[in-house]
Symmetry: C2
Subunit: 480 residues, 2 copies
């Protein structure tokens, strides 16, 4: 029996869905677009979509179009952790230090949270850097305003409109990456010994930061889809004299969720009620897959209680070390900390970013990266589902380039990483994302880089070692 046009198109689309090119939940191309792309009639596309609906691969939503159905075989989400007590244990600095050290030759690493900087859409940025240097522009060699380039702060204010905020340059200060912004933010609102409530798991850099500043960390149960439990947080605020809440509501590191709007509002209300500051890490905000990107908690705040921290490290390149803080009502303190902590920020990279944005490259580049990461996510999720043992739980990121994986509880990812070192592969071990001894069987991997056959082989190899560890453990050998 000859295959009809619509069956052919349905088959192409179903293959793309199965290969993960159109991940679960995403909107599929419109009927008009597919008709043009494949040179077939509107009716043919409609028939193809009806066929896929029958196969329960896609869902029609009135006035919105067609969406990929949630997968039946979709891996489970990582579990939510229970509430921890205040922790002051010595942090896992040795493990973190190993993670941030230089790469070994030929090492395939999934450790860092770095974006892909090899893409051609960054060329105009390196060109701008080159031109500014070539011109021997004295601004690039001189001390800048300690708050950073006025032009860049104006551009950032414009970019922030997408996140729902209406600021001007005066509300923003440039920092050495988001890291310095976070360090300043925490010190603006807390003194050593104060308690800071955080998501669990949390970015290890933030946990180390809080430890380094002598803060006590209170890990709040965090849902892999909805984010920090506002209910658990309320109990915590009732019980402890918490001074600040530190959250990454958009494209969370490591879980990848976007906290729903109403939960952001609830969180802010809670902070107002208990008079607590919020440090909002928005470093992955612009890499949220959906459009428009979620509004920041900062944008809902009219008291200057929320301190927004972000950078161009994930959207453009981390080596630039250009971040910013919008510290709400704490600007004076923040400027003092910046002045005394590192002085002004390097001028050349700031001015190059200004050029890059002004010439219209920024939005194009970020759109491209969002697409790449979303495609990579589907492929990587597919590989892990394929190579890792049954029962492996995987996060469902709504932005960014990081995947959180929960293995069988018999597996210690620290031990796994030591074995992987023999294969010149490294992962970020789960234990460093908690100060309370959690997540020993978890790991975080980065899927930003182009997913070559080498990467697939590395993922397969990780799967092999996990299977070995499990079977050894099954035969009674101790898994350390």
């Amino acid at each position: 029996m000859a295959i009809t046009r619509y069956q052919n198109l349905a088959s192409i689309l179903s293959q793309r869905i199965e290969q993960g090119l159109y991940p679960a939940g995403i909107r599929l191309p419109s009927i008009r677009v597919l008709s043009k792309e494949h040179g077939v009639s509107i009716t043919t596309v409609q028939q193809a979509y009806r066929e896929l609906e029958d196969q329960q691969l896609v869902e029609a939503r009135p006035k919105s179009g067609y969406f990929v159905s949630p997968l039946k075989t979709r891996p489970e989400l990582p579990a939510v952790c229970s509430m921890s007590q205040c922790s002051l244990s010595i942090p896992q600095w040795d493990q973190v230090l190993e993670m941030v050290g230089p790469l070994k030759d030929g090492e395939i690493t999934f450790v860092s949270a770095a974006p892909d900087v090899s893409v051609s859409s960054l060329r105009p940025l390196t060109r701008a850097l080159s031109h500014l240097s070539q011109r021997h522009d004295l601004r690039t060699l001189s001390y800048d305003d300690v708050r950073g380039s006025l032009e860049l702060r104006e551009q950032i204010a414009r970019l922030l409109i997408d996140s729902g905020s209406h600021m001007d340059a005066g509300n923003i200060m440039i920092t050495n990456g988001c890291r310095e912004a976070l360090s300043i933010a925490v010190r603006c609102v807390c003194a050593p010994g104060d308690i800071v409530a955080v998501e669990s798991p949390s970015f290890h850099g933030s946990l180390q930061l809080l430890h380094g500043l002598g803060m006590k960390v209170l890990e709040i149960p965090t849902d892999p889809v909805n984010g920090i439990s506002v209910e658990a947080l309320e109990l915590a605020l009732d019980q402890w004299p918490v001074k600040a809440i530190m959250v990454t509501p958009t494209a969370h590191n490591p879980l990848g969720y976007n906290m729903p709007l109403e939960r952001r509002q609830a969180l802010l209300k809670l902070a107002q009620h208990y008079d607590v500051a919020i440090v909002e890490d928005d470093v992955y905000g612009e890499l949220s897959f959906g459009y428009p990107r979620p509004a920041t908690i900062t944008s809902m705040d009219d008291e200057g209680r929320v301190l927004l921290c972000s950078s161009f490290s994930k959207t453009l390149a981390p080596g630039l070390r250009v971040g910013w803080i919008a510290p709400g009502s704490y600007m004076n303190r923040a400027v003092h900390m910046k002045y005394t902590g590192s002085g002004s920020t390097a001028s050349l990279t700031q001015l190059a970013i200004v050029e890059f944005i002004k010439q219209g490259h920024y939005h194009k580049h970020v759109r491209r990266m969002r697409g790449q990461y979303q495609r990579n996510l589907a492929i990587m999720t597919g590989w892990i589902t394929k190579y890792f043992p049954c029962g492996t739980r995987i996060s469902r990121p709504q932005g960014g380039c990081l995947l959180w994986i929960e293995l069988d509880h018999g597996i210690d990812t620290q031990r796994l990483n030591a074995l992987l070192a023999e294969h010149n592969i490294s992962i970020a071990v789960g234990a460093v994302f908690s100060t309370a001894g959690k997540f020993h069987s978890c790991m975080r991997i980065n899927y930003a880089q182009p997913l070559t056959a080498d990467i697939e082989n590395a993922i397969r190899q990780i799967g092999v070692v996990i299977h070995q560890l499990l079977s050894r453990s099954g035969f009674g050998n101790s898994v350390k």
Copy 2:
């Protein structure tokens, strides 16, 4: 009467001395060199020098050669301040903030401690920046080792040999300028509430830093030629539980002295005896006029008690924001602070500096700048002597690009600066160099930039306003 050859030469030399081309105390060209330069015999040069000796313009020192005599009319040195009590008063942040803000249009400023970055010997650096960017070198866009570029640390270790230190890359960590190095150093050895002994006057950035970190500042009397009083420091260490001593022994900011070798040794011995750490700010070290540059206190320390902080901000360009710390025995803590405080340092500027040094431009450039600053110093000292009131006291820098001026005690330089603003001129007011309310009649000016007629006019204008203030005060008007 015809002028003889030796009289002619003597007249040339005395003019140069009077114009400040050969400043007081400096070694004059050797007899052999002058003989060649002027095409005269050795005997003629010897006669010329004898003539100048008779005029008391030069002094012969056995086996060393001829030196310019201390000037008879030489302005007096600034006075040494008495010991202050521990201070916890609110620092002059508003004044400092005004100083570090953006320049007004056409403003002539003597405020910052910036070097001259307009010189051609920096061209190879901007070329290196340009080439690295042009190549789209991925290293310039990626996260670097948190300790900084290995190559750059190796080059810095090599540069440090001149300061008497034998280190390797493992002893050094790159920072965002000297400011971040100082902030890390202080936090390595002190906790909030601890007492830090400092020179008086001290760089306002360091004082603000200590205040920002919650330290108590103990200002030790400091001699404008010999540096911090080791005797007064001993009394202080006996009396107070001082945790650290923070000093700038070479080309001090703002006084410009080089602390003599034996006083450096005495300081270290004291620190050992009282088990106190030393934070050594060497940011102007390479700009010491004399050759070889003085050995750092760090180089005399074999216990890892001294934390060396420096940067390329004064030798190359501040806009690069590339500094370093050699934190002695505190490396692990220092790396943690760097990782949590700002993450790795921007890669592009580090790599460009490596190129600049490797291509042999560094020493040539620094030598040139030393010469320029030394010549500028003589000219600027001349202008101030000429335009400022009699009795003005002036420091005698042995390196760097900063002059410290003490006016009649009836003058408040804060008020002076407000009046100068009407002429679009600004100076660094003395008050910010102390936390104890000292130096209200002092000011610091920068003489790095090319000393054009505009600069001379600005200095003349400052003199005019000072004279006005004095005469008003003399006629009974209140000097606020």
